[in-house]
């Protein structure tokens, strides 16, 4: 406030001195002092998801906005931009804004989401799918909070909540001093992105000992999902799965380099894209390999497919199957080995098999293994989550780590979804041990349950896991943002290429006539908040200026009167000389 006042003073003094002192300073002080003056503030906003899946539209349909800002407490919300903070966010308020046909909704998120308290995170996570399920024509934006945005919010709050309750004089003063804000986005209307290709990567480790070896496929999808694509970092789901896959690739490629440990199984690693959009990458890969190619590892002897999904936390492991494995099959062997390893080496982990039939009538498939199941390949998904409907699989609150202050006491349920590195490395070792026991047939050969293979030089490298997870969560990996030239894809390709052979890319483009998925652009915008005055203010100003001009006119017309007045005041002094 003081800088503004001194700037005004400087300008005045440079132009004309005495008159400004008498006339202008009181007026300026009255008009400038009540609120700190705010200029236009530019900030980045991230739009809510907009996509069509199998013809069904989801999310917000609109991108442009040019409306005045209000908060939820205001009475009139129609055609206004409603600003809410995350701490005050609730579904009823959101619905209220939509019911009153608001022009837009902007939700302000704290800069560091890991410091949010647990219940707010939980509540928001549950609301995300509901917000996406209802198709809204109103653009919904998310902005990260900073000081200026917060002050804009508080100013809007005070002016919104004081709207209906003051006298005429207060309203007049209010119009002169209050600041309204006009929110304007700079982009265009959103439109569908044509020819977006989702990239997936595959690599293999060939087994030894003849043709027609059984194949084990390890799959993890690398993309993330959240209510806003640019804010979805997907740490646990599925950054943990990808980092575990890379670590398994490293370990087994090491084992396969030595002739003594080169096993008789082919290992196929697949990092799929579009996983959160009903596993598009996997679906097309399967079609290409099974329908369009003559010979592929997937057509011949597939022992089983293991999908890794959300394994970075938690003390339980669930093996999700669509058909319980029959005895004597490799899937059954894996199930038994997992149970063995858990019971003898990791008693703190609760392991169970979850049987869920594939329901083709559902909008989307539950887990990635169901895609393989539909094509009659034996598959399961490992996850620490019990149900595929868990909110944290598709939430922007899934971040790399949470601060200790937001956790409850030790022993209680942990805070928002995040990756716990020790648990991730424990899970990696667990799965690696179980896989090794299946591949090398250790139980039949009489190896004890607590035989540990991956120790000393072969041990799971926690730093490797940590750096991969850190790198993955450093950028948003929504499927709409990762195209084939993206650095995520090329770095993953490079990493896979270090350990595996025949690393190949696989592209999925939506079908032209009946697209399975359609993405839209304008997901990140720059929004400007302009300080505006209410319309009455201009009228008030016009009246004041008209009055002022009238006074000037009268003064000039009757200048003689003024002059003689001045002379009469100064004359007695000269008469005395």
């Amino acid at each position: 406030m003081f800088e503004e006042a001194s700037e005004v003073f400087d300008n005045m003094f440079k132009s004309s001195f005495p008159l400004t002192f008498i006339v202008f300073i009181p007026a300026v002080l009255i008009l400038v002092s009540p609120l700190p003056a705010e200029a236009a503030h530019e900030f980045t906003v991230y739009r809510m998801q907009q996509y069509d899946l199998q013809g069904q539209p989801y999310g917000t349909r609109n991108a442009i906005l040019n409306t005045e800002a209000r908060t939820v407490e205001a009475e009139v919300l129609s055609r206004r931009c409603v600003i809410m903070r995350l701490v005050d966010f609730s579904y009823e308020r959101y619905q209220k804004a939509l019911r009153q046909s608001a022009g837009a909704v902007v939700i302000i998120l704290p800069k560091n989401m890991s410091t949010m308290p647990q219940d707010i995170v939980q509540q928001f996570m549950e609301l995300e799918p509901e917000m996406l399920a209802t198709e809204t024509i109103v653009p919904v934006y998310f902005a990260l909070e900073d000081d200026e945005l917060l002050s804009i919010y508080t100013q809007t709050l005070t002016s919104s909540s004081s709207q209906g309750s003051s006298s005429a004089a207060e309203v007049l003063i209010h119009t002169a001093t209050a600041n309204g804000f006009q929110m304007v986005t700079s982009g265009a209307q959103s439109k569908a992105v044509s020819d977006w290709s989702i990239t997936s990567l595959e690599g293999r480790l060939a087994g030894t000992g003849g043709e027609d070896l059984p194949t084990i496929v390890l799959v993890a999808h690398y993309d993330s999902f959240g209510v806003a694509p640019w804010l979805s970092y997907g740490a646990d789901s599925n950054g943990s799965g990808v980092s575990m896959l890379l670590e398994l690739a490293r370990l087994f490629s090491r084992l396969y380099t030595y002739k003594r440990t080169h096993a008789g199984y082919n290992l196929l690693f697949f990092v799929s894209g579009g996983g959160k959009f009903n596993y598009q990458g996997t679906k097309r890969w399967l079609e290409d390999n099974l329908d369009h190619t003559d010979s592929s590892l997937l057509q011949d002897n597939v022992a089983f497919v293991l999908c890794l999904d959300t394994l970075g936390n938690g003390d339980s492991l669930h093996l999700h199957v669509s058909k319980p494995p029959k005895e004597g099959t490799p899937q059954y062997a894996l199930l038994k080995e997992l149970e063995t390893v858990v019971s003898s080496q990791y008693p703190e982990v609760k392991f169970s098999m979850v049987h869920k039939k594939i329901n083709l009538a559902d909008d989307t498939l539950a887990w990635e293994h169901e895609r393989f199941g539909i094509r009659r390949l034996p598959a399961f998904t490992l996850s620490h989550l019990n149900s595929h409907r868990e909110a944290q699989r598709s939430s922007i609150m899934d971040v790399r780590s949470v601060s200790p202050s937001s956790r409850h006491g030790a022993g209680e349920h942990p805070a928002g979804p995040h990756v716990d590195l020790r648990k991730l490395s424990r899970n990696t070792k667990l799965i690696a041990e179980a896989l090794a026991r299946v591949i090398y047939n250790l139980t039949e050969k009489g190896a004890p349950g607590d035989l540990q293979i991956f120790t000393e030089q072969m041990q799971v490298q926690e730093e490797q896991l940590s750096s991969v997870v850190d790198w993955l969560t450093a950028q948003p990996r929504a499927a709409q943002l990762v195209d084939k030239d993206s650095s995520v894809v090329s770095t993953l390709e490079y990493h896979l290429g270090r350990y595996l052979k025949d690393v190949r890319r696989h592209y999925v483009k939506a079908d032209k006539r009946d697209p399975e998925f359609v993405f839209y652009d304008q997901l990140k915008q720059t929004m400007n908040a302009y300080r505006v005055k209410p319309a009455i203010f201009d009228l008030l100003l016009a009246v004041c200026i008209a009055a002022y001009l009238g006074v000037i006119y009268l003064a000039i017309q009757h200048f003689g009167v003024l002059y003689s007045l001045v002379r009469r005041i100064t004359a007695p002094k000269t008469k005395q000389h």
Binding site: F13, K14, S15, A535
Partner: protein
């Protein structure tokens, strides 16, 4: 409503000039073209000043907080050209004293208004963003009208040979103030700041 706001500022800035022109009797003397000539002289004088400043006063590379008194003093002295310009305009106009003063001042002030305030108002006041500075700029132009009238009057008085001796000194002082007022304001500002920081420093030490 932002075009309305531009209209408000425009009215605030221009109408007093218009009223002054109409009501001070200048219109009876068909002084319009003489005012325009005065405006042209203003443009010419400003151009000369700018060239002079650009040529002889290189950018001063010194500390950011220290005020270059001598440099700014020399720059302010160039504003004497304003006075000379006013004198030139007035000497070319035959007529009574008031006529000369009013013509010179009106033309000068109008030219300054058009040159320095038109474009900021057009560009800024029409935008979505509201800022008090446009109202302030328009009000400023009113004050500068009065200021130029006073300045022209003082210059005219200075050049009169029948000015009483007792008035010589105040007139000269006023002329000096006209030229150096910006510089004096900066000096006062700097000294006030220095005294204040010195005082605060002493209080807290």
């Amino acid at each position: 409503m932002t075009l309305f706001h531009f209209g408000n500022c425009f009215a605030l800035a221009y109408f007093p000039y218009f009223i002054t022109y109409k009501c001070s009797g200048l219109s009876e003397y068909n002084a319009f073209w003489r005012c325009v000539q005065a405006g042209a002289t203003y443009l010419f004088v400003q151009l000369c000043k700018m060239l002079f400043l650009a040529t002889f006063f290189p950018t001063w590379e010194g500390g950011a907080g220290v005020y270059d008194f001598v440099g700014e003093f020399m720059k302010a002295t160039v504003d004497l050209a304003d006075l000379l310009g006013l004198h030139l305009v007035m000497s070319r106009n035959a007529g009574k004293g008031e006529y000369k003063i009013m013509v010179a001042a009106m033309g000068w002030a109008t030219a300054e208004l058009v040159m320095s305030r038109c474009i900021p108002l057009w560009v800024g006041a029409r935008g979505i963003e509201f800022d008090w500075k446009y109202i302030q700029m328009s009000f400023d132009s009113n004050i500068s009208l009065v200021h130029y009238i006073a300045m022209a009057a003082v210059v005219w008085m200075f050049t009169r040979y029948d000015l009483p001796k007792s008035f010589r000194l105040p007139v000269t002082v006023l002329l000096g103030l006209c030229v150096y007022k910006a510089f004096l304001m900066e000096c006062l500002d700097c000294t006030a700041k220095a005294i204040l920081t010195f005082y605060c420093f002493n209080t807290f030490m």
